[in-house]
Symmetry: none
Subunit: 244 residues, 2 copies
């Protein structure tokens, strides 16, 4: 089912090392994935990787974005990668094998983004807030930090591994990131208007909210319904506020 | 079972690139393997890899051999790696996942060697002749040639993977029905107060709402957070309404 692999978007965020960009593209080619997206790569690294001898078609056709939000806007499921176990507090974290199973199911019907952070710091909390959940590669406690190119290879191997198995298609398409972001912003408006979130401290609240909205696994119709509800509530809060 | 992983000998034959030696050692460390053996490495590459910043203990304690025969002499099972399918004629070739299962069984009682050939030509037929059988990583037909460091990472991931139960249940507990019902009622209040739902037609709206809230698959903490948000919004709508 090549069309299934075709639904994956590998998203490299703020990658510094051209060798890692090349290695990621090579692993994608090895395991049958074609669509690479880069967010704010170090310009020089990106140009160097693209012009390297043997640079792949995948690198040549890689798309560049200025934010994670833009890079995942058309994806119904956004999965981040992390080595750090204490981030489990903010996001659900699944072991690669389990997470890959969920991703494969989603890939049968929708676009899925798999995010990898920079070599130094991984994905920031702000970047992670665009993710529905995270996967971690089960590593030895003594050394949990993998090389970026190797981490990409292992994740794509696991995603491609069970192609032969007949995965039940998940008939329930999920809302896209763009739809979820509209809901997040409308909910944030309601929370600010109601005094739940103070406008000055909105940024951290916004990230928490974004993460939570991603965890809901909303169907498109439900996302739309909730958006309509929140729009009405916001309208009412504004109308009442204007009376004061 | 750390002693099991301890029985593996990763054997790199005629490796040319110091970065690949370092990458192999790093993957070993990531997945809990300690014993690296090198056969006829390019001298300069080996010295460079060993003296690299952050070079691991694994590289420092790597043992050097002049022939594959010497490097695998104490191993009860010797497994080669190959990308090339027509070598299947000379040796049995197993898909990584299957081969790893056999290897793990053997590792419980004996030393097992896993061989990787040089970047240019892989393992020669002479080197392969020391192997009991071969494994290949299932790659896309269009590009079967993997980067050495990535191939090592994928193989070791697969070997270490099944230490965990493969059908481990998804551990994320969901909110209870009682928690969901409190949220449903609070949301309904907000919808009535904002005029989204008319009080007289609340019953069918309530059922739709209840079904939707159940579809969210909420974690307990998220259910509580959402309840707190809706409570504040309801309070504000009531307070504003009282002003009219």
């Amino acid at each position: 089912m090549p069309h299934v692999l075709d639904n994956l978007r590998v998203v490299l965020v703020a990658t510094r090392n051209p060798l890692n960009l090349g290695a990621a593209a090579r692993a994608m080619s090895n395991f049958g994935f074609a669509h690479l997206r880069v967010v704010n790569p170090y310009e020089l690294a990106f140009r160097e990787a693209r012009s390297a001898v043997g640079a792949s078609e995948i690198l040549a056709s890689a798309k560049e974005y200025e934010s994670v939000a833009d890079a995942v806007a058309d994806c119904a499921l956004v999965v981040g990668t992390t080595a750090v176990r204490h981030r489990e507090l903010l996001h659900p974290v699944r072991r690669l094998e389990i997470g890959a199973r969920f991703m494969r199911k989603e890939l049968t019907s929708a676009r899925v983004a798999l995010l990898f952070g920079s070599e130094r710091v991984g994905l920031s909390n702000r970047e992670l807030s665009h993710c529905h959940w995270l996967i971690r590669i089960p590593t030895a406690e003594q050394n949990i930090s993998m090389n970026l190119g190797q981490a990409v290879a292992v994740c794509l191997y696991e995603l491609a591994r069970a192609r032969h198995k007949t995965d039940e298609p998940d008939k329930l398409r999920r809302a896209t990131s763009a739809e979820l972001e509209r809901l997040t912003q409308m909910l944030l408006d309601a929370l600010i208007l109601s005094g739940y979130v103070s406008p000055t401290a909105a940024a951290p609240g916004e990230e928490r909210l974004r993460r939570m909205v991603r965890r809901l696994g909303l169907l498109p119709a439900d996302a739309e319904t909730l958006l309509g509800m929140m729009r009405q509530i916001v309208w009412k809060l504004r109308a009442d506020g204007a009376l004061e």
